[in-house]
């Protein structure tokens, strides 16, 4: 019933489909980091004084920090002075007024990626704030969102147009002192997205952003801030692809979510950055800090992620459940193939009464990959009646990969109920045999079984992402089991 080894290698060794580099002029500062570089970034972006002060404060704190080593990943040391911290597509005039003025090469890039920018954008019903190498070049559907009162723009625009909101919320969920990479991001972040949903407003459409890492040697430091005011609802989609590179690129983003009373934020990610080749050369280092605060009563934050890319993934989308009755959710599928390493999971910190959290994590390892779930559930003494349910399952394909589970359960209130379950297994021989005996090919059978394994997570994704995620999964794992 097994496939021949050479078939497997051919299938596993599929080339990364999104590997291409757009050749456009970039305005890049020389590699290295000091206070002058930070001042330069801030000046280039025309930032107000408070933001520059904040960046410098973060930078000075970063200098005192040590790079963390506790994650279950191995990589060569990163030279932070070899990275160029700013790269922007050259301003031709004062910036494009419409899509016609946008660099056609840029648009072609989006075409290849399938970003629905012009007509396709309307058909897909998605507003795209496409981030291209750190500077936002086009934003669509602004009017429709503006009519509803929703602010959805690049971080730079938000700094210019809504400085009060930025000053009020920036760094309140992930402070500039939070961790090594968050501090670095706070010092040098170049752009990102900003969303503000006013009181009682339900965002009229799903919001989505595509991140791309394009110029060589420019680590991307994105900063996303989403604020859902009382009683509002927003669903935010983030999808990532990157061109093929032979050297490792650092990506240290920060995402902050704030949900006030009765507000809901749904944050979905499909991450498919370049994972390195079959020998483990190249690929993205994805060291991301994502955190949401349920500040008001009955608020809810839901993270859904499908992680198939990056050489190293190191991220823990977290929920701090402060408001009474607030809800945190985390649904994740993490796939690691070839030499990929993933150390990912979540943190659910219960502060308020009757707070609830659900964690469903599915890890799939193949080839030589190492896939770890690391999750913290912390019940503080005030979290009367808090409830957590955690389930993390791992699927192993092949005898050279690894699947790890590192849960941390800290309970300080006796009325809380916390449950954690985990299993690790390989694809059931019986299930495979059943499919084969019904005339289904080995590849399709594996896909079917893996889809079933991940179903609980996929059903949480918005429709268009669910389809993309299914395809991604099939491509990432083809031929991994014989």
């Amino acid at each position: 019933m097994s496939t021949k080894p050479q078939d497997l290698e051919a299938l596993v060794g599929q080339k990364y489909r999104h590997g291409f580099v757009t050749d456009i002029e970039s305005d890049t500062v020389p590699p290295g980091l000091d206070e002058d570089v930070i001042r330069l970034i801030s000046r280039k972006k025309g930032e107000p004084q408070f933001l520059l002060d904040w960046r410098l404060k973060a930078y000075r704190h970063w200098l005192t920090m040590r790079e963390p080593t506790w994650a279950h990943v191995k990589y060569a040391p990163i030279d932070y002075q070899a990275i160029s911290y700013y790269s922007a597509p050259k301003a031709k005039t004062d910036g494009p007024k419409s899509l016609d003025e946008v660099d056609p090469k840029l648009l072609a890039t989006y075409d290849k990626l399938g970003v629905p920018l012009h007509e396709r954008a309307r058909l897909a019903g998605v507003a795209v704030d496409a981030v291209f190498d750190s500077v936002s070049v086009a934003t669509t559907f602004k009017e429709r969102l503006a009519k509803a009162g929703v602010i959805f723009c690049s971080f730079s625009d938000a700094v210019r147009d809504h400085p009060a909101l930025i000053e009020q919320y920036l760094g309140t969920v992930v402070p500039h002192t939070d961790n090594f990479y968050a501090a670095l991001n706070s010092a040098v972040f170049t752009d990102g997205s900003f969303v503000y949903v006013p009181k009682g407003v339900r965002s009229p459409m799903e919001l989505s952003t595509y991140f791309r890492i394009n110029a060589a040697n420019t680590g991307q430091f994105e900063r996303t801030l989403i604020v859902a005011d009382e009683g509002s609802y927003v669903s935010y989609l983030e999808g990532c692809t990157a061109p093929q590179r032979d050297e490792n690129q650092l990506h240290a983003a920060v995402v902050e979510l704030v949900a006030l009373a009765d507000a809901q934020i749904k944050y979905s990610t499909v991450q498919n950055w370049y994972p390195g080749d079959e020998n483990g050369v190249g690929g993205i280092y994805n060291f991301v800090t994502k955190r949401g605060e349920c500040r008001g009563r009955n608020s809810k934050i839901s993270w859904t992620q499908v992680e198939t890319g990056s050489a190293i993934t190191w991220k823990y989308p977290s929920c701090v459940l402060i408001g009474d009755n607030s809800v945190g959710e985390f649904y994740s599928v993490a796939v690691a193939n070839n030499w990929q390493q993933a150390d990912t999971g979540t943190k659910m910190i219960h502060v308020g009464r009757n707070t609830k959290s659900t964690i469903v994590s599915k890890g799939i390892s193949a080839g030589h990959a190492q896939n770890a779930y690391r999750g913290l559930v912390k019940i503080l003494p005030a979290a009367e009646g808090a409830r957590n349910y955690t389930q993390c399952d791992s699927l192993l394909m092949g005898d050279r990969c690894g699947a790890h589970t590192f849960p941390y359960v800290e309970v300080r209130n006796p009325t809380a109920t916390v449950e954690h379950e985990a299993t690790t297994s390989k694809i059931g021989e019986d299930q495979l045999f059943y499919c084969l005996s019904r005339g289904i090919g080995a590849e399709d059978a594996v896909n079917m079984i893996v889809s079933g394994f991940c179903k609980e997570v996929f059903k949480e994704l918005p429709m268009e992402f669910a389809v993309e995620a299914q395809n991604l999964l099939a491509v990432s794992l083809e031929g991994s089991v014989g």
């Binding site: 050279r400 990969c401 690894g402 359960v409 309970v411 300080r412 449950e419 954690h420 985990a422």
Partner: protein
Amino acid sequence: MNVAVNAPGPLTRLAPALPGLPGGAPWDEWRGCALARLQALGLPSPRDEAWKYTNLRLLERRELAPAPPRPVDAGALEALVPALDGARLVLVDGRVAPGLTAGVLPAGLRVTPLATAMATLAPEALAGGFPLPGDDVDQRVRLLNSALLTDGLHLQVDGELAAPLHLIHASTGGGAHPRVIVDLAPHARLTLVEHRVPLGEAEGFAAPATEIRLQPGACLEHVRVQLASAREIVLDDVQVQVDRDARYVQLGYAFGGQLARAETRVTLAAPGAHAELHGLFMVDGSRQLDNRTLMTHAAPRTTSVQVFRGVASGRARGVYDGKIVVAPGAAKSESSQSSRNLLLSPQAEIDSRPQLEILTDDVKCAHGATTGQLDEDMLFYLLSRGIDRATARGLLTFAFAEDVIAKLAIPTLRRSLEERVVRGLPDAELIREFV
């Protein structure tokens, strides 16, 4: 002037304690080497992932150096531990106390006190070699034990021993650093019962290290009852090597200690090796009990089971931190881990960390952890039968602990542990009627 900076840490105070410990020059050198390595590493801090949940501030001012020999009255000891069939060996503050030994050593058991043997044998020649711990895992407790090694026992078993061997660790205060080595020949069988009891209420510190080696087909049932005083710190370190078709079963019952941390590392080294760790910890006051396990499946077709039950009340803290590692190539291994915890008061805390590190695919591994309070439905059932709330809660807590106590095959020991649990519950008199 900052006093804290200038105050000598517990490690810097140790050097004067080293001369005068048993053994000749080779042992002095061996101990010096261990101390130098430990000083280079420093004592653990909460920043170390493996010590994250352990409160180490207590250690700062504790006297770690070995206590001087003190006479002990046999009667005082007998009041503290149940009488078992079989021979009894006693270590007082980590030193063998021949005067307290009782019963006849069975045929097939050879007992060598280490201090005596150290006088004539170099580290390489004693008990099949006495290597210093490696750097693969955090073994600072074992290094500390090595640096201050005072005495201990080498137990060699050949044949099936019917009666349990009773080993008592008694403490009178001060430091205790014994080493116990247990060697089971092929197909040998032993039940080893270890009791840790305090003689008095003096401040104490113990870092005992145990080394267990099971040859093919051997079987060891290892019962450990920890009843240290509320002024003692115990950092216990057990290392087990299980060969082909051998079987290691540990039944651990931890009740005492101001801070008691028990670490058990098991290596299932050959096909068919099997290990079980059953643990119960009950902690109250503002004390801390910390349980750590590392179960390494190093060979194919090895199996392991871990079942831990924890109860914390008052302002106490209980920890279960267990890890299963399935090495590459250890196919067809099966492993399970269950950690269930009961919080009985609003200020108590339980931290549970059941970890899996799986490096091959053809395995079955599962773990589960729950932390919560007593089941409302069960409470309601008892209340509806006319039992008051306090007694009902006591009964259910007893039943929770009984899960692990019932594993004991020695009736006297089981009864003494049940009594220990009941004594700690409210309405002990009433509960006795039920159980």
